[in-house]
């Protein structure tokens, strides 16, 4: 008679990983189709509409690219941190501090025009990097859990920005509302044609991917990161300094999130405003973007595009089908759910054996 045999698979091949990932995403879409049905919408029609509006026309594609810029930067930075098993949950706060640095450069540095944009990115990187390093020192020197410190620093960052926009940085032109003044024109990032894509930040993102890829595969630092990420015991044995390695890791990880923040304020908003408006959860979504890439920085380009597409699809669903704005979160959550479940299943192989 036929018996079901479930064996453990030691290392899933790339083919398996890819097909399981794709399958989970499709499963998620399938389940969400039922939500559409619940609202009286034909799911097939809905998905076709979504496809048209996201990848089916030029405008949709530009929207996806635009939306994926901060996701790419946050995601690839987080990938590096996660490779060292440093659980950076603070990309959100690092992004905000980056936007703070960028705002100062744009509005208060008094630099000549041609230096504004470079300084925006430099201070954006620095803001995020410094913010990330606080948690690094706490972990390396005092063994304080980084999940807690990075997460808590998010709230501190939010409140610092709130204080600034309500107080010393409130713009005189803003009729008392909590915004800084608009950045001067030379501090506005150029956009690609008629789209909203602030391409300098996009380039930063791609450069970050290349740099992090090189670091991981070719440098001493990358080697140290990989060893620490696997086993701190082995790292100690190999003579690798935890603090020194994580210092560089978080400098880059926080810095990338900071660049994302700089891009948002200089490329999208052209001012500093309420933290919930600057980051639409990019720091947290970046975690999924990084995790989905399964350790390969180049794949974050794909995963950030995927989530960019989900955000755009959410807009379409709201406007064209009248679904409530929470639908985007349901979408993302459903995908996460299937991905996490499939992650475990990937490690098992199912086969049928004939047994007497």
């Amino acid at each position: 008679m036929l018996r079901l045999k479930i064996e453990k698979r030691l290392t899933p091949t790339w083919k398996v990983v890819f097909s399981v990932t794709v399958l989970s995403i499709f499963l998620a879409f399938f389940v969400i189709g039922f939500i559409f049905l619940g609202y009286g919408i034909n799911p097939v029609k809905a998905y076709i509409e979504i496809l048209i509006e996201t990848v089916g026309n030029f405008y949709g594609i530009t929207q996806i690219l635009w939306q994926s810029i901060p996701l790419l930067l946050c995601g690839v930075g987080l990938l590096l941190a996660f490779k060292a098993s440093f659980w950076n949950i603070g990309a959100e706060g690092q992004l905000l501090m980056g936007s703070l640095g960028a705002t100062w450069a744009a509005l208060f540095s008094g630099l000549p025009d041609f230096l504004l944009i470079p300084m925006i990115f430099i201070l954006g990187f620095a803001g995020g990097a410094i913010w990330g390093l606080v948690s690094t020192v706490l972990k390396a020197k005092f063994k304080v859990n980084e999940v807690i410190t990075t997460l808590m620093m998010n709230y501190i960052a939010m409140n610092i920005i709130l204080y600034l926009i309500h107080g010393p940085w409130k713009g005189e032109e803003m009729k008392g509302f909590a915004y800084t003044n608009s950045f001067p024109q030379p501090a506005w990032l150029p956009t690609l044609g008629m789209s909203y894509i602030h391409w300098p930040t996009l380039i930063m993102g791609l450069v970050a991917v290349a740099v992090i890829y090189l670091i991981i595969s070719r440098t001493k630092l990358g080697y140290e990161v990989k060893v620490i990420g696997q086993s701190q015991k082995a790292a100690k044995y190999a003579g690798i300094s935890y603090f020194q390695t994580i210092f560089w890791v978080m400098l880059i990880s926080g810095g990338c999130a900071g660049l994302a923040g700089a891009g948002e304020v200089a490329g999208v908003h052209h001012m500093l405003r309420h933290p919930d408006q600057i980051s639409l959860g990019y720091g947290y979504t970046g975690i999924i973007v990084a995790w989905l890439a399964r350790g390969n920085p180049i794949v974050t380009i794909l995963t950030s595009l995927l989530f960019g597409a989900i955000y755009v699809a959410g807009d379409v669903m709201q406007l064209s089908f009248g679904l409530p704005f929470q639908i985007v979160n349901v979408f993302t959550g459903m995908i996460l759910f299937f991905l996490i479940s499939s992650d475990h299943l990937m490690r098992y192989k199912i086969s049928f054996r004939r047994e007497e």
């Binding site: 070719r218 001493k220 990989k226 015991k233 082995a234 044995y237």
Partner: protein, 493 residues
């Protein structure tokens, strides 16, 4: 003498683990009520396996159990507990933030809404009966190790233990606490409980046991009432020690003799504290020269770990000093999570302890092609079997992984080589391989070998240090007429 029936009788217990290791080989054991029965043996002798079988954690491949002369099957810890067989493990299963009472009721199946009801009363009763003095409301993390052990004992008693198994109970106790424990065990014995006491320390066994069984390499090599030994005197003691560690043939390996070179390691009255702040190395002095193997032998847990950590720079000594003339190569005991990184490739693992070397990396970049070539050479020279240098280390068998680690450390050509349990868990072919290369390395280095396997140490070493409870006693070769003495020192005499 009246013939009593054993409360537990084990006959023909055999257990073989996958890989061919026969942990228990046709073992017979009789346990009587009102008796403390010590089961003695080195690491790997099979005593833990036997006790795990008795307490239901493992299942024997063959053999029978009799409880009160009736055949029983013990298929799970729950069944063992129902027969009154309860084990107190060497590593306690307690939850530090919870109180004594909370730990005791865990899993007991008390009332859902008020689980602690009645517990304080029971604890008080046990306290009085056995002189335990533990307070129900204290948190485990605030108790001393000895007190924690007594909580474990109460856990067993409250579940109706009539046969109590204690696994190396004094390994974590101070001498004073050990004395208190023995007092408690005497009381329990008088109440008719049967106590099985697993240990490797011969001298304390003679103090407390009524009956002694010695295991060696899975077989029973001796079993007798302890008063028989006391009568025979010191001769009997050394005979016992030999029954535990075995009489070995020394020259199992072809050994070239090398001329001694300069001193590469000098250890002077070294003292090291362990993680709990207790002195694990109590003033050790020895030296190692180029051209020789100095083997430290002892049952695990006598301070070898902290000693090695101190010498390899992973743990600072508390006092005393050591000097290393040159570099150190270190083959750690834990090859999976320390000696290698499972998810990295063979090439990446081959430079783990030497990656900063200018051949392998310059400025910021790794010299990837050189590293690959280097790994390939190592693989060939040390016969590491793997598809290619890009295979991940976790895919290697134990023997191959050890060859890789050996290859890496030996090829560094350091002045001192520290090898910690280098053949632990390996197949025969790999063991011989490791021995061959260690001996060969004597032409370049002094080798510090740490092992619990006496035959290995006797075969490889030029000089031996026996380590027991943090102290080392040195023996010069030849060893053939000193084996009894060595055995005794290993067991604490």
């Amino acid at each position: 003498m009246q013939k009593r029936d054993a409360i537990i009788s084990m006959k023909g217990i055999t257990k073989t683990f996958p890989g061919g290791l026969k942990a228990n080989d046709n073992i017979d054991l009789d346990i009587y009520q009102g008796e403390i029965h010590a089961v003695l043996g080195e690491n790997g002798a099979g005593k833990s396996t036997l006790m795990n079988i008795l307490s239901g954690i493992y299942r024997a491949d063959s053999g029978e159990f009799f409880l009160n002369c009736k055949p029983v099957q013990i298929k799970s810890p729950k069944e063992a507990i129902s027969h009154g067989i309860i084990m107190v493990h060497q590593h306690f299963r307690l939850i530090p933030p919870h109180t004594v009472a909370e730990n005791i009721v865990l899993g007991l199946g008390t009332s859902f809404l008020s689980p602690l009801k009645g517990i304080e009363k029971s604890i008080k009763e046990f306290n009085e009966q056995y002189n335990l003095s533990i307070h129900p409301k204290t948190r485990i993390c605030d108790l001393s190790v000895g007190e924690q052990q007594r909580v474990e004992i109460v856990k067993a008693l409250i579940r109706g233990a009539s046969i109590l198994i204690l696994d190396e109970p004094t390994s974590v106790l101070t001498p004073q606490e050990a004395k208190e424990l023995f007092g408690i065990l005497e009381k329990m014995k008088k109440e008719g409980k049967a106590i099985i006491f697993i240990t490797h320390k011969l001298e304390e066994v003679l103090e407390i046991a009524d009956h002694i069984t010695i295991l060696r390499k899975g077989k029973v090599t001796a079993s007798m009432p302890s008063d028989q030994i006391a009568k025979k005197g010191s001769e009997a003691k050394s005979e016992l020690a030999m029954k535990m560690v075995g009489r070995e043939v020394i020259l199992k390996v072809e050994k070239e003799s090398f001329s001694l070179g300069n001193t590469v390691l000098e250890v002077d009255n070294l003292k090291v504290l362990d993680d709990r702040g207790i002195e694990a190395v109590k003033g050790v002095s020895f030296s190692v020269n180029r051209g020789e193997v100095f083997g430290i032998v002892g049952v695990a847990g006598n301070g070898q770990g902290p000693l090695v950590e101190a010498i390899t720079g992973l743990r600072p000594p508390s006092s005393g000093s050591f000097t290393v003339k040159g570099d150190v190569g270190y083959i750690p005991e834990d090859r999976l999570s320390m000696g290698s990184v499972g998810d990295l490739t063979l090439a990446e693992n081959s430079i783990l302890t030497d990656y900063k070397n200018s051949c392998f990396s310059r400025h910021l970049l790794l010299n990837l092609s050189y590293i690959r070539e280097y790994a390939e050479i190592l693989m060939i020279k040390f016969s590491v079997v793997a598809p290619n240098v890009n295979t991940r280390a976790k895919q290697l068998s134990g023997g191959n992984l050890q060859r890789l680690i050996l290859a890496r450390e030996l090829s560094k050509n350091t002045q001192l080589l520290v090898a910690e349990q280098p053949t632990h868990g390996l197949d025969v072919g790999s063991i011989e391989f490791v021995w061959k290369f260690l001996l060969e390395q004597r032409k370049n280095a002094g080798i510090l070998l740490i092992s619990g396997d006496l035959s290995e140490v006797l075969s490889l070493s030029d000089r031996i240090g026996v380590m027991f409870q943090g102290k080392v006693t040195i023996f010069e070769s030849p060893f053939s007429d000193k084996i009894e003495e060595i055995g005794l020192k290993m067991t604490g005499f």
